[in-house]
Symmetry: C2
């Protein structure tokens, strides 16, 4: 059972230090503090436990340290920045674990880029030693990369030549799409086990600069200082504390304050319910800051995030998640109005950006999602995105009951998908004006209006409702989980592609393919044979 | 040994009839005329042999029947249009064959869309019976789809619910990206084994119309007639004949007139050489028409296309193709000038479009490509694209020998990649002006100029040349072929994505993944168990 919650006080592998506008995130992986048995985290190599701490630090920097403008990522180990994902951990992991591990680490790196793009927190990778594989992929997720020039330290992606797999955390995509390295040079670099050192790495665009050992820290510090000056100080802001989530975890599910997960293990589906805020909600930024992480949107989405990660990683056989909401439409819409009215405030901005990240985590979860809109539900505004994220949406058509959905300005761009579109735009690619019409609709929509507007897949009446749901859940959970994963990954992201969708779609799919090939994971495969005296034996047939 | 050449006279499974501006391509698959043993092609299901004929027909319609404006695709079988790829064929095929089969059928469907977009040949699918799986995917590659309304015939994608795999020929992508079906409806449709019939299929956008059996042929004919009238007659054009290629095939390779393939089987690489035209070349369209398929660009690229298909399908262990050219730069540039000066003429236009398709076939080939630029080579204009397609380019830097490359207007847009960019644009994403500078360069570039312009990866001198090449070939062919395939698929297509790149990158990668999963191909997998009394047993863990 993997726990995704942590705090800086309990980090084992990272040190987070904040000094005014500059934070330093230092990697110092403890060899023996592994998440599972059977491997040691040598040379700052990482397992999921290390990355959970990194993800936590990136998140806390935004909420707890909004004054930070530059985050320096470096290592405490001499001559090594980071050796990437631990190979023995990968070699002993199940296919499903490898895939989920890569997805989470990808999300962490995308969160770094999101902080840089939207929160004014630039990331500088200060490579005081070699960055190989996932180590270089962490660096390339940062805005800038500086490498020590000690005659030995290099950047490298040795996965293809040494391990017979791909760099699994977006490295190939970021080489050619972010740093726009020439493709032939990217080809050479990605097949060169020893990588490239300072001068050549700079010439090819793999790093932004290199400094001799004696001047490295000083030169990086001076550059960071200049970045802070260029950007100008942020408006004085005092962070809020992200307290541990309170969750009651049982065999039957997980109960948070605003989120419930009920597991129907035998039938391989879960009910996930998000509850609307209750009682008086804040309307000013002062009140929001006062509430801190107890403010509904932040707390509810943190709980949702945790629930999704839990389902992904700890409940592999749950193939379908039934999304439900409980509460009053108006209470949700009121929150949306408050957030949008105050979106220039740093905490509100961070909250909205975080809600968007959680919903993207849902889009990228390899489980089916059905949304059920029933009496007492509140799929409005930000929570309507849950229904729009779902693979299908069922809405009860019962004139005797109040069953409604509603849009808000939140559905018009605050919560973009990985492809850069809103979920309404993705839904109505065939007739973009339909998205605008839905947004202009005054008041809530009942089942017939919602169906006419194209917001729901099925709107059965109360005679059919229960049977329809039961049969459709049974059918869905009977299908091949692999075919569903590939199908959903294809249908959820129509329209434009971005670097993120390329990483999650194209690159991840290839990596998943390779992760099952005998040439990587068979008894004579490269991943299996890594570090052994035997050499990998390949079947050279090209597919 | 699979042969990709055929002619309408020897088709076994299709009938091609041309009547003025309308061609009819009728599917009538012969059950026993299979490419391999162990299956029967019932219900107009297809194997690679059927698709080779289709690809040939699509190609001939452009060159031999330029007067055709509408191509009607239909079936001779009662109540069945096409049941898609034969499941027993898939079930008994190797992984590599399945992957290569899907790639070829995808290229054929993209060629249909290319004919429609660029050659004024619209495709109308006249579904006189059920179109399921690859049958519907063939329909959705057409511009319009009409379905008979006989109370029984449906369109469907039963791969996920029945076979535990994906529709492998672009179906999912075209559902949401071409026909822009709402994603929740695409989800329902793609999990509904029995599919949808006329009325609902039309409502959901899966077909463009439906007619009762008694009026089906008449209604389709009337609609086709109206399309012809709307488009207006094409300029009178008389097609040219595509004669069989002359090739000398031996154990050591293949010798065509302008293309040589030399197999170094033990070392797992091939030398592929394209020779420039020799002697006086035509300069007017009359002369070009007179030469027909013997005109250098058409013949050389037909030979190159055949060589690539041969290497893909019949030489699986060849992991690296060394691209070479022989001849005079100026002879190639002269052809480019003639083609561009006459590009408004249908035959010249078709020739250029075909050259672009062949180069895209190269981009999509799962083998490494190294280009070698040596004395006597002629990487100029259209042939420079070979060097730009290569994963790496080596150019001899020898002041005593004439070793040069040259650009032409052909490198500025006539031969787009699947991502919509030119190969120069894809190469210089980091500094788009570099592509323009290269194009503006007067005259040929020697090794130093080419290196400075960013056109070559390595430019060793004559002392290093042979060793460098030998070592790099050895290194490349020693790496995991699977990791290389995934790496090349990621690095070759930086920048924008299109429906084509989504099909070849995202969808294909997922399908390849699923094609190895025990849930599909294991002893209890759905593909293995299809048609047997036993039922598939899934491992329900989601990855």
């Amino acid at each position: 059972m993997i726990n995704f919650e942590t705090t800086p006080e309990s980090y084992k592998h990272w040190k987070l230090a904040v000094d005014g506008a500059v934070a330093t995130l230092t990697m110092d992986v403890q060899e023996d503090e592994t998440l599972a048995d059977g491997y040691k985290l040598k040379l700052n190599s990482y397992d999921l436990g290390v990355d959970i701490e990194l993800a936590d630090a990136v998140q806390r920097l935004r909420f707890e340290h909004p004054e930070v403008q530059v985050v320096v990522v470096t290592s405490l180990k001499p001559r090594i920045f980071c050796a990437g994902a631990n190979i023995y951990m990968l070699g002993t992991s199940s296919h499903a674990f490898k895939v989920n591990f890569c997805k989470f680490t990808n999300e962490t790196r995308c969160a770094i880029e999101d902080a840089s793009a939207n929160s004014g927190q630039r990331y500088v990778a200060a490579l005081n030693g070699t960055a190989s594989g996932g180590g270089y992929e962490l660096a390339i997720a940062c805005d800038e990369i500086y490498l020590v020039d000690d005659g030995n330290s290099a950047v490298s992606l040795p996965e293809v030549p040494l391990l017979g797999v791909l760099p699994g955390t977006g490295g190939l995509t970021r080489l050619v799409d972010k740093r726009k390295i020439r493709r032939d040079r990217a080809d050479v670099f990605s097949t060169l086990a020893e990588g490239l050192k300072g001068k050549r790495a700079k010439e090819w665009g793999l790093v932004d600069g290199y400094f001799p050992t004696s001047k490295f820290q000083e030169a990086v510090a001076a550059h960071v200082e200049s970045l802070v000056k260029t950007d100008g100080a942020k408006a004085a802001a005092k962070g809020i504390k992200l307290n541990p989530l309170q969750v009651e975890a049982t065999a039957a599910g997980r109960e948070y304050k605003y989120v419930s997960v009920k597991l129907n293990r035998e039938k391989r589906y879960a009910d996930l319910t998000v509850r609307a805020p209750q009682g008086v909600q804040p309307s000013t930024v002062a009140e929001i800051e006062q509430l801190g992480d107890a403010y509904w949107p932040l707390q509810a989405y943190r709980e949702l995030d945790d629930a999704l990660l839990h389902l992904r990683m700890n409940e592999l056989e749950i193939g379908l998640v039934c999304l439900r909401t409980e509460g009053d439409l108006e209470d949700v819409l009121a929150v949306d109005r408050t957030l949008l009215a105050n979106r220039d405030h740093w905490l509100v901005r961070e909250t909205i950006l975080y809600m968007a990240r959680v919903l993207r985590r849902l889009d990228l979860t390899a489980k089916s999602f059905f949304a059920f809109i029933e009496p007492g539900s509140c799929f409005a505004g930000n929570l309507l995105e849950l229904a729009l994220s779902a693979d299908r949406t069922y809405m009860l058509n019962d004139p005797d009951a109040k069953v409604e959905v509603a849009t808000s300005e939140f559905n018009a761009g605050a919560l973009p998908m990985s492809n850069g579109l809103t979920r309404l735009q993705s839904r109505f690619l065939v007739a973009p004006e339909q998205a605008d019409e839905v947004l202009k609709h005054e008041g809530a929509l009942d089942a017939e209006a919602a169906e006419a507007a194209g917001l729901v897949t099925f709107a059965p009446d109360d005679l059919d409702w229960e049977d329809k749901i039961r049969v459709d859940i049974e059918e869905r959970t009977s299908l091949s989980p692999d075919a569903l994963t590939g199908m959903e990954a294809s249908l959820r992201f129509a329209g434009p592609e971005t670097m993120d969708t390329k990483i999650y779609g194209r690159l991840t799919a290839w990596q998943n393919w390779i992760f099952q090939r005998p040439n990587a994971v068979g008894p004579e495969g490269a991943l299996t044979n890594y570090g052994k005296p035997t050499q990998a034996q390949f079947d050279y047939k090209r597919t």
